[in-house]
């Protein structure tokens, strides 16, 4: 994880469970593949609520499924 936070992003697992690629998700949430890749690899510093909403709607999940806090 980049920066000074301990938030883990579980986008990889969610995509695998839904048999979806990052590119497909990017098209459906209207976020660039580059930015989603930054998020997936834990290098994001912040996520907009609008992006979080779009991802949760497309993946049919809760924010807590996507993000978790590590000790």
């Amino acid at each position: 994880m980049a920066g000074d936070h301990r938030i883990a992003v579980h986008l990889d697992r969610l995509l695998a469970e839904r048999d979806m690629t990052l590119t497909e998700l990017a098209e459906r949430v209207d976020v660039t593949v580059v930015n989603l890749s930054i998020l997936k690899n834990g290098r994001a510093r912040a996520i907009r609520f609008s992006t979080l909403t779009a991802i949760c709607e497309v993946l049919d999940c809760q924010p807590g499924d996507l993000l978790s806090h590590t000790a």
Partner: protein, 208 residues
């Protein structure tokens, strides 16, 4: 990082800064060559030739009558022309130009780097905060130092001049270059603004 064309104003400003930088460097080379020639010829430099124009101040009492509606404020500036100057006189007058020229070149060089980053669409980087701090230092510390040095040089030159034939002239004393120092303070403040902007940019770039 650049996502849009730079404005014509930025391109023009950068062009002018480039002209000023290279012009300053060329003039510096010319000034050095002038001093070398002046030393070799015993006082006749490229820039000043056989006649040295020394900036002095004239006692208003020796300036002659003015119309009743006019008066001098302080000692007016005059130029004393010295024919066939000595090597020492040539060196002293030439030296007064090197300090301001060095400050000018340093300032323009820093602004060039700054302007280039703006033209590339990437002004909020750590380098620009550093450039602005250096510019601030050049102005706040460099300008008074150069003025102090030049005051000493002007005084030495004045003491080496021939008599003014009964006319009361003097040399300008030291005065703090407040304008340059104020500009330096502004540069330090802007440096902090750009440091903050760099942090904001990093936050934005990491936001999805």
């Amino acid at each position: 990082m650049a996502t849009r064309r730079p404005s014509a104003a930025v391109i023009t400003a950068n062009g002018l800064l480039n002209v000023m930088f290279w012009g300053g460097l060329l003039f510096g080379v010319l000034a050095i060559a002038s001093v070398v020639v002046g030393v070799v010829t015993g006082g006749e430099s490229i820039l000043y030739g056989e006649r040295l124009g020394v900036p002095l101040e004239l006692n208003p009492a020796d300036a002659g009558p003015l119309p009743a509606s006019l008066s001098f404020s302080g000692w007016p500036d005059v130029t004393a022309w010295v024919e066939n100057p000595t090597t020492k006189q040539m060196l002293l007058l030439s030296a007064t130009g090197f300090g301001p020229l060095a400050l000018f070149i340093a300032g323009v060089w820093l602004l060039r780097g700054f302007g280039r980053s703006v033209e590339e669409g990437d002004p909020f980087g750590a380098a620009n905060a550093t450039r602005l701090r250096r510019l601030g230092f050049v102005l706040i510390a460099g300008a008074p130092l150069v003025e102090l040095l030049n005051t000493a040089l002007r005084t030495s030159l004045y003491n080496d001049l021939p008599s003014a034939g009964g006319v009361d002239v003097g040399v300008r004393g030291f005065s703090l270059p407040l304008g340059a120092m104020l500009g330096g303070l502004a540069a330090f403040i802007l440096a902090q603004v750009f440091a903050y902007g760099t942090q904001l940019r990093e936050d934005v770039e990491g936001t999805v």
